[in-house]
Symmetry: C2
DNA sequence: ATAATAAACGGAGCATACTCCATTTGTCAA
DNA sequence: TTGACAAATGGAGTATGCTCCGTTTATTAT
């Protein structure tokens, strides 16, 4: 990679981060970002083919941090597996709320779902979710575990989650409902 | 409502249906639709505030038919509740595949998720899904049943479903995995 | 019939995502 | 150092969703 290209990529990321701090992500246009970065829109689009992918790049750090934090927690088992799973869900929902604008942009990108699902970001998320699901899923094949992780992530996407909140459910109630749904109880 | 307005609304629906038959939904622009309908774009947008809502209006009939058909089936119990639920899922997935373009347009509309979730279309879907879930969900509150219906619909949205198919799962495998997930088994 | 008015019309115009390609620039072999 | 060229640049241009508002039209009261 040429040196100027690398510099421009950094300029873009800085400009986007700056603008996203100042105003709502959805109100920042690609032109704005190019302008603040001091480059042409063509250059912006070569680096990031669309706004969603730019947001993905910006989310990488955050997600990384979340995952690292969770992997540390996962085996600090101070409570029942059920409680542990509920806590994991709650923290994931907290994270979503904190980064809701970026995540919404990523998840609603035009045809970017195809990109998102094939990104390392998604892979890492699936791996973490599988680890969280494993203790509460006895006798389950690896492929079915993967399926459930995909479904769990799908259930908690921005739109769906926002709708549940709007219906009056709290974060905790959602976490509990989800855990009831995912945990095989035999009462 | 003024007579001319009603006529124009019908002209729009006809034009859209015609164009959507001829080429992919995503390649048909609102301008195209207005042109074929023989009206101005302003008129088009007064009738349908965006493409997603136009697609919703066009889907109404299809969904209605599906729901009517299912309500007839639901109580024709020739098999176990589990099998019945699996069949319901399979038919829902068949329906999705047949109408995938319209449904994708509806589900990925910009900020239209808020509209979609509050549409009668979604309410009907939730009601049907709740009916299908009820026999396999013992001792569950009405609100939790609603939650599960929401989640089931969320899991099977276009993006998520397309991803699973791409991963190599067949429609039947997806139906089975979902039913494993939703049914409380105590083996 | 006619006038008054609210409702609907339509297309010019705007904003924004994204593309195209003539021009510039960094890199590297000779 | 210099020449050649692949790589990168940038902004004009295109497509499309959507809005605004001056004009037209259906309806209703008189």
């Amino acid at each position: 990679m040429r040196k100027d290209a690398q510099i421009n990529q950094q300029k873009i990321l800085n400009a986007a981060a700056k603008l996203f701090k100042e105003r709502a992500v959805s109100t920042v246009s690609m032109k704005d970002i190019a302008q603040v970065a001091g480059i042409g829109t063509g250059t912006l689009y070569r680096n990031f083919p669309n706004k969603s992918e730019l947001c993905m790049a910006l989310s990488l750090d955050y997600i990384q941090q979340f995952i690292t934090g969770e992997e540390a927690q996962l085996h600090n088992s101070a409570s029942s597996v059920t409680k542990q799973f509920e806590n994991f869900l709650t923290r994931w929902l907290e994270f979503r709320e904190r980064r809701i604008q970026l995540l919404t942009e990523i998840e609603t990108g035009p045809s970017v779902m195809s990109t998102f699902y094939h990104s390392p970001l998604y892979q890492q998320l699936v791996n973490l979710t599988m680890q969280a699901l494993k203790p509460i899923s006895d006798n389950i094949s690896e492929s079915e575990l993967k399926f459930r992780a995909d479904m769990l992530i799908s259930m908690l996407k921005s739109d769906s989650y926002a709708y549940q909140r709007e219906q009056g459910l709290t974060r905790e109630q959602i976490a509990i409902n989800i855990s009831h749904l995912m945990i095989k109880r035999c009462d």
